[in-house]
């Protein structure tokens, strides 16, 4: 019997500098994710993003550009998790030192051209990121079980 967990709202950022994008990777895991994290109680979406990027990378984000929302649903240990990722792009501040402030996480600037070949999670983000990089138009990507297109 699967029981649903409360919906989580999460804010994530695609840090760009020229043709590179910043990805995080937990040491020992083969997959990557975007800096950011869950919106805490009583916290705005953008405040959560700024807090997480400060905590994870010591970076202050200024202008954020909306790139879309992605829904991610998965079941683990009989619990159904549902996460809405609100995605933004931001310029990586010039001269910023790229380095993780968390001991078991690495931050890497990856060429946009090689993004497609990497295991980026959650997978639902990829469609939104690709769409924005190609057309600069924000998009929505819903849980594939419903749309039947995923």
């Amino acid at each position: 019997m699967v029981s649903p967990a409360p919906v989580e709202i999460s804010a994530r950022v695609l840090f760009l500098r020229q043709d590179r994008v910043l990805l995080a990777n937990r040491r020992g895991q083969p997959w990557f994710y975007l800096p950011g994290g869950n919106v805490g109680p009583g916290e705005t979406v953008e405040a959560a993003l700024r807090r997480e990027t400060r905590e994870q990378a010591g970076l202050d984000v200024t202008d954020l550009e909306f790139i879309g929302c992605a829904e991610h649903v998965y079941v683990e240990n009989d619990v159904r998790y549902q996460e809405i990722n609100v995605l933004f792009a931001a310029d990586l501040p010039w001269g910023a030192q790229i380095g993780s402030w968390e001991f078991d996480v690495d931050l890497t600037a990856v060429a946009l051209a090689s993004l497609r070949g990497l295991d980026l999670r959650p997978v639902s983000l990829r469609a939104v990121i690709d769409g924005w990089l190609a057309h600069r138009r924000p998009t929505w990507y819903g849980a594939p079980a419903l749309t039947g297109t995923g």
């Binding site: 919906v7 109680p41 009583g42 705005t44 979406v45 700024r50 909306f66 138009r137 924000p138 849980a143």
Partner: protein, 321 residues
């Protein structure tokens, strides 16, 4: 003070029919809403919205098995609000902190538009009258009005500090501004738009009181490559641009008045007016920094067009960087 709760999720649908939008209003109520509602745990966003559409779903939900295939939904954007029904709180710790995911769809041609939805009256409101229509929560109203003008998905978040509340967009990159303009280029072909756009370009170019030959050449190159501006005759654009620049150099107050007179040609055309402002921002930022004097002339144009500066994410003059 109670402990703040986790953010809630809602999904709502803007239904368009011709030049009108379909809004739900509780019987006897003054405020309109978009059909939709909360997404409960255990249900995907679009599935929850489909269920909440009730009797409307047969016409509007792709794959719902209606008489004709329903059109696909388009993403309209997402908004964040908290507080009362209007969503006016500036503190996310207020009650009902909510993320609303918004979609839009066209009511299919043929079947009549129903008159009720889940105990609400459904009313058709002319898109041109949305500015004067009470829609709640307010951030959703702003997103809907922007959509009707620009058809470009927006984010309207609660800003982290109170001074920023009310900003609609964030400063878009030049690439994004140009993509947005390009997407609307079919609607940006009138001579009124051309005149207003050229006047805007000239105002920004001359904003610092001097005109560098390189700026003139830069503008020519921009006009030739821009998907919107290249729809017009290059000779005509250059002639108008040069005429504005000469006036702006010889007699700045008269030159500004003449430029504003051309800009207000699109005053009652929201899509073109918004595009003229975006174009001014593109010209201001394409060569690097959007300096204070350039922001000031774009802001003048915003006011002359009767638009709300807050909706264009122009920094308030005075603290511009």
């Amino acid at each position: 003070m109670s402990t703040p709760a986790l953010m809630r999720l809602e999904a709502r649908l803007l239904i368009r029919s011709g030049d009108s939008v379909l809004l739900a209003r509780p019987s006897g109520g003054a405020w309109h809403e978009l059909p939709g509602g909360p997404v409960p745990p255990g249900e995907d966003t679009e599935r929850a919205l489909s269920r909440q559409l009730g009797a409307l779903a047969a016409r509007l939900v792709p794959g719902a098995g209606g008489a004709a295939p329903a059109p696909a939904w388009r993403f309209l954007g997402a908004t964040e609000h908290a507080g009362d029904d209007l969503g006016t709180a500036t503190n996310p710790a207020a009650a009902a902190h909510t993320l609303t995911v918004l979609f839009t769809v066209d009511w299919p041609a043929g079947p009549p538009v129903p008159s009720d939805w889940q105990g609400h009256d459904l009313v058709l409101v002319d898109a041109g009258l949305l500015v004067a229509t009470r829609i709640r929560p307010l951030p959703v109203a702003v997103a809907v009005r922007r959509w009707v003008i620009e058809e470009w998905p927006v984010w309207r978040g609660m800003a982290a500090n109170a001074g920023e509340v009310g900003r609609l967009g964030r400063r878009l990159s030049v690439a994004s501004l140009r993509a947005q303009l390009s997407a609307r280029r079919e609607d940006l072909r009138s001579s009124a738009f051309r005149d207003a756009a050229v006047a805007m370009c000239a105002l920004v170019t001359a904003a610092d009181g001097k005109i560098d030959p390189a700026e003139r050449d830069g503008l020519r190159a921009f006009v030739a490559s821009d998907p919107v501006m290249s729809q017009f005759s290059a000779e005509e654009l250059e002639a108008r641009f040069d005429a504005h620049l000469s006036r702006l150099v010889e007699d700045p107050p008269a030159g500004r008045a003449a430029a504003i007179a051309d800009i207000v040609k699109v005053r009652n055309r929201p899509a073109e007016a918004a595009a003229v402002i975006h174009l001014g921002e593109v010209i201001g930022r394409i060569d690097g920094e959007f300096v204070h004097s350039e922001q000031a002339v774009v802001l003048d144009a915003v006011h002359a067009l009767g638009l709300d500066a807050a909706e264009f994410a122009l920094p308030a003059v005075g603290n511009a960087s």
